[in-house]
């Protein structure tokens, strides 16, 4: 499938890594990036990605805030969001899942595990 994946992350290295990993398995995937929560939400509305990969710590907001904004907007509410968390605190992870995250991965993650998690959303 030629899908659009949106990566909301302020870490350039991480964006680059995700791009490389995704392209390896899904060469047709179009990866959009946003480095702030606000930009991420508008990009999600405009581009309607099949999947959003969301860092839980962004310069302008937390992943949870972005998640809630996406869930509250009918234009983006149905898009699955996978959290890429830099925090392994179970309480935070539980909160993000309760807020509607489809799944999460704690950084640093195994790239095979990453692919196993995102694959079902990319067909």
């Amino acid at each position: 499938m030629t899908g659009v994946v949106l990566c909301i992350d302020d870490d350039q290295d991480n964006i680059f890594l995700l791009q490389r990993v995704l392209k390896r398995k899904h060469p047709d995937i179009e990866l959009h990036t946003a480095m702030t929560g606000g930009h991420g939400v508008t990009t999600a509305i405009d581009n309607q990605p099949a999947l959003i990969l969301l860092d839980n710590r962004l310069p302008d907001s937390s992943g949870e805030q972005v998640l809630r904004q996406l869930a509250a907007n009918p234009a983006t509410a149905a898009i699955p969001v996978i959290i890429l968390s830099g925090d392994s605190d179970p309480a935070i992870i539980d909160r993000l899942l309760a807020a509607g995250a489809a799944n999460f991965l704690v950084k640093p993650f195994d790239i095979h595990r990453f692919l196993a998690i995102v694959d079902p959303y990319l067909g």
């Binding site: 890594l17 839980n56 392994s88 179970p90 704690v106 196993a116």
Partner: protein
């Protein structure tokens, strides 16, 4: 106002005394006044009696003399001796009456007049006696007449003397009668006034008691209730007595309560701010360390997948190993920080010990094999259970066994023993046959980064494993201790609270389990689902259910290794994985699937009776796409299978993860 102030300041005892004393004093006063008056009246009466006794006896003596004279005159006139009878009686009586007169006069203190009157009476009687003698002798009238006249004169004198004698006492009696009457009326007045005063004093006492004590007791009790309920107190006028002090104490208690509450609130806020700051710091640290490490490990893994020279491959593997070491260190450090900040949440529940021991031994088998070390376990108690966090218990045991392997001699043994200690707790001991630890160092090894010189050797380790294991054990209300004999080895013992024995897992009826794959797939387009499950009943349920769904080719394996082999032979589209598998735990099956590039991408859904949030969270973190709890919700399983049969329609997987109700 001043009086009221004075009254309020008196002690309750003084108030009680006063309240009782006021009517009492009134009553005593009245009674004594009455008694004094009665005594006075009695004296008055006595005086009257004495006075009238003198008057009466004087009259009596006079009457005797008159009676004697009259009798004698009759005799003189008639010479009839019958007339002498009153005379004779009077002569007899007058002696007695004279004695009475004399004693009355002595009592009255009027003896002079009495003696004169008595002498006259004696003279009169003597004259009468002489006359009688003359009459008896037959004297003529001429002889008798002068004697009679003389007697008359004496009688007259006697009469006037007796009258004089009676007059004084009569006046006294009359005077005293008036006094007595006055006294009697005074006594009546005093009695009535006294009664009225007594009643009034009683009423005043009750009023004083009500205003001074009971009303204030009620006010104090109401304030105590308000204090208990945390409401503001009603103001109460201050006083120096016990009740005043009680009211004052209540006000102080209220003030103290308010100040303590304020202090506690401040302390709580401060602690909360500190905790929040610490949490934020931990969270930031975790994020800031993990983010760059993600790039390091991620790109290293990517490099590993590309064509590399032997040298470069070695370099990449070193980068990966160092990165993994760093990651383990970060994880353990953050765990320790979380335990110390009390933020670490353990999922404590009854955990069967034997399966955890078996898993640990299996996980450690490859490492042990590398060093030709034998692992043996003595846990002959299938139902034995502890209260603990299953994952953390395994982490402790893995840490202890891996240490026992790493610090052992080549070809040595590691023994894992379960026991019920005398304290009723369960102890799990890991013994090695290494060089042992000097007694002086036995506690030091539980300090972070204290590796007893191992950092200079090739032995791998973060240096936090043991402190963390001990922290976990303590967080589970247990303990971790070490003992060692130089040259013979060391024993690390983790002790945990015992839980009621758990039912032994039912034995497998392997004969009933069909050994290979299932349904017809005439078109060859069916998706392939692998179910790794050891319970025949569960397999049967899923097999029957899948038969109702076209387009699914179901395979199953009754053990982890068999499942892994099937997964490698032909990559399935989906793996349904049970966690409690004999031999290899489902978690380890998943890890091994992920560790091989060809199976790492297989979507895995967990089907498990284990519904603890910690396990579910842990499995999610390991990237499972769904977690279905047993008893299976077949509708949920249906949705999962439907998604995979329809995946050619390019719909994204909804990503639902079953969360069991708490």
């Amino acid at each position: 106002m001043r009086l009221q102030r004075w009254w309020l300041d008196q002690s309750v005892r003084a108030k009680g005394t006063i309240v009782l004393a006021v009517p009492l004093i009134a009553l005593i006063g009245i009674t004594s006044a009455s008694l004094v008056l009665q005594h006075t009246e009695e004296q008055e009466r006595q005086v009257s009696l004495t006075a009238s006794a003198l008057s009466d006896s004087a009259q009596q003596v006079l009457a005797d003399a008159v009676s004697a004279e009259t009798g004698l005159w009759g005799y003189a006139a008639t010479a009839n001796p019958l007339f002498l009878q009153p005379y004779n009686l009077a002569v007899l009586r007058i002696a007695v009456d004279r004695a009475a007169l004399r004693s009355a006069a002595v009592a009255e203190g009027d003896s002079g007049a009495e003696r004169v009157a008595e002498a006259t009476a004696v003279q009169e009687m003597t004259e009468l006696a002489d006359l009688r003698t003359a009459i008896n002798a037959g004297a003529s009238a001429t002889v008798l007449t002068p004697a009679l006249e003389s007697g008359k004169v004496t009688m007259n004198a006697l009469q006037s003397q007796m009258a004089a004698l009676s007059q004084g006492p009569a006046a006294i009696v009359a005077a005293h009668r008036i006094g007595v009457t006055q006294l009697e009326s005074t006594i009546d007045t005093v009695s009535i006034v006294g009664l009225a005063l007594g009643v009034l004093a009683g009423l005043i006492g009750i009023a004083l008691f009500t205003s001074g004590i009971s009303g204030r007791v009620a006010a104090a009790a109401a304030n105590a209730d308000r204090l208990g309920a945390g409401q503001p107190l009603e103001p109460v006028p201050g006083a120096a007595d016990e009740l005043g002090r009680l009211a004052g104490s209540l006000v102080s208690a209220e003030r103290l309560l308010i100040s303590r509450t304020t202090e506690l609130t401040t302390a709580r806020d401060t602690a909360l701010t500190a905790t929040q700051a610490k949490d934020a710091f931990l969270s930031s640290t975790s994020h800031e360390l993990r983010t760059p490490l993600n790039a390091v490990l991620g790109f290293a893994q990517l490099l590993q997948l590309s064509e590399l020279s032997e040298e470069d491959r070695d370099a990449v593997e070193r980068i990966l190993a160092a990165g993994q070491h760093l990651l383990a260190l970060i994880n353990e450090l953050i765990d320790i920080a979380r335990i110390e900040s009390g933020k670490f949440s353990l999922s404590v529940e009854p955990v069967a010990v034997q399966p955890v021991v078996q898993e640990t031994c299996q996980l450690m088998a490859p490492l042990a094999a590398d060093r030709s070390i034998t692992i043996s376990q003595h846990c002959p108690w299938p139902g034995l259970a502890v209260d603990g966090d299953r994952l953390r218990l395994r982490q402790i045991l893995v840490n202890l066994v891996s240490n026992a392997i790493k610090y052992n001699r080549v070809g040595g043994t590691v023994t894992l023993t379960c026991q019920v200690a005398s304290t009723g707790q369960v102890s799990l001991a890991v013994a090695d046959t290494g060089p042992g630890i000097p007694a002086a160092d036995l506690e030091r090894i539980f300090d972070p980064f204290e590796r007893l010189g191992a950092s200079q050797t090739a032995i791998e380790g973060t240096g936090i494993g043991l402190p963390l294991a001990r922290a976990f054990a303590e967080a589970m209300s247990g303990d971790l201790t070490a003992a060692s004999t130089a040259g013979e080895g060391s024993v690390f013992t983790v002790t945990l609270p015992r839980a009621p024995d758990m039912a032994e897992p039912s034995g497998l009826d392997m004969a009933r389990v069909p050994q290979q794959i299932v349904p017809d797939d005439p078109s060859g387009t069916a998706i392939r689902v692998l179910y790794i499950e050891d319970n025949p009943a569960n397999i049967e349920v899923v097999v029957r259910f899948v038969k109702t769904k076209p387009g699914i080719r179901l395979q199953y394996a009754i053990s982890g290794p068999a499942g892994l082999e099937l997964a490698t032979q032909e990559i399935p589209d989906l793996i349904l994985l049970d966690l409690h598998l004999p031999g290899l735990h489902g978690d380890e099956v998943l890890r091994r699937l992920r560790s091989k590039p060809e199976t790492a991408g297989i979507p895995v859904a967990i089907l498990s009776a284990e519904a603890s949030p910690a396990i579910i969270r842990y499995m999610r973190a390991n990237g499972v796409i769904a977690y279905l709890t047993k008893p299976l919700d077949l509708a949920e399983l249906g949705r999962l299978l439907d998604f995979f049969t329809a995946r050619h329609d390019h719909e994204p997987y909804p990503g639902s993860l079953t969360v069991p109700a708490p």
